[in-house]
Every structure is written in structure tokens, then in C-alpha cells.
Symmetry: C2
Subunit: 121 residues, 2 copies
């Protein structure tokens, strides 16, 4: 029964890619503009160096981001979305639209901050 | 600098919700139709009972799914998306479109299965 098997391999793979902690936040930052490691770390906020390095490596292996080293002293490394990565803007936008539409509902104990958020340290 | 702080609280919250392992797969199953626990487990595939229970509980607490117990013997429990959960179809669709468009690219060592996938045990 096809209708009982809703998931193709492509969906599984892309869902697994998106559903890694911090990945949607890293992508959101890089959709803004190419960034250095420290800028990503600051804007994502609260992410450990170890995990951020792992996530960036994963995204680079998936050809979603490109890592470019510039010949400066000290060496300057920039992360940029590839076309494949830029195309994820539809997913990121959909997540944002859903959050804006559905999360402001009153929920017990939850406090909400307005958009844009307070500056991250 | 607003443009340097791309993430509002709502985006962070919805991204954190989506970026939990298995959650996009569970949502995809429930977008098909209301399901019993065992159906979700079968269609998601390879998920442990412990983790599936945790994920369903989380989604219920977020009011994304509703758990209904029917008065049968043995008791029958069905999981259904709420309106808030149904609205996540835009996110799920965007993930699927991206996967279909970008993942079929030849990548070293990766084998792809056509949609629809082989039946999950």
C-alpha cells in the first residue's frame, strides 16, 4: 500500500539532515551572509565549540556549505552556503512562519520575546 | 544591528522543535492520517519504543498531536495532529521538496532508492 508508506528515501535523508540539533540555527545565520566561525558561534549562541565544529563539518561534507580559507595572517576562514544550501531557505522560512503563527499562543509558564530578539551576548 | 541577529525567539523555538531526531518522520506519518502507536513505529522504522514514546509525549505537550484513548478492549490509542500540528505540513513539504530536488545528485558512495520506498518491514 503506497499510501501507507509515506516516506521516500529522499525525505528520510533530508529530514535526518534538518533534524540535527543546531543545524537549522546555523543555516539561518548563513542565509543572512557568509560568516566566520566566531560569528556563527555568537549568533547561534550557547553552542559548544565541539558541536559547532561537528555540525559545520557535516554540512560541508553534504556540500551544503563551503569553507574557504583566506591567505591572511591570522588565516581567515569563511563559511558560505552553496546553491544546495541556499535552497534550504524554503525549509527555514517555513519553520519561521510556523513559529510566528503558532508559538505566540499562550502556553503555561512560557515567556516569549518579541522579534527581533535581544542581542546574544 | 538587527541584520546581525537573524533569529527571533519563535524561530529558535520552532527550529528546536523540528530539529529533534525522528520528529519530522513522526509528523510525516501523522500527516497521512491518525495512527496507532504501532503504525507510527512501523512506518518510521528503526526507532526504539523508548524514544518514540518520548517524542510522542513531547509533541503532545506542545499541543502538536492529540492522544485519544478509545474504550475498547484492549484499549485503543490513536494519535492525531491538532490544527497546530497540521500547519507543520508546510515545513514537511519544504523538506521533501528540497530532498527530491537536491539529494538525487550523484554523491560518492551513496545509493538512493526511488520514491516510493521499499516497504518497511
Amino acid at each position: 500500500m503506497v499510501e501507507d508508506e509515506p516516506m521516500c528515501t529522499y525525505y528520510r535523508q533530508s529530514a535526518n539532515l534538518i533534524s540535527r540539533r543546531w543545524t537549522p540555527l546555523i543555516l539561518k545565520v548563513l542565509l543572512l551572509r557568509p560568516c566566520h566561525y566566531s560569528e556563527i558561534a555568537r549568533m547561534v549562541g550557547n553552542i559548544s565549540d565541539r558541536i559547532l565544529s561537528i555540525r559545520l563539518k557535516e554540512l560541508e561534507e553534504q556540500k551544503i556549505i563551503q569553507r574557504t580559507a583566506f591567505d591572511d595572517i591570522p588565516v581567515r576562514i569563511e563559511y558560505t552556503l552553496t546553491a544546495k544550501g541556499e535552497a534550504l531557505n524554503e525549509v527555514i522560512d517555513a519553520i519561521e512562519r510556523w513559529g510566528t503563527e503558532w508559538l505566540p499562543e499562550p502556553e503555561e509558564g512560557a515567556t516569549q520575546q518579541a522579534c527581533p530578539p535581544q542581542k546574544i551576548s
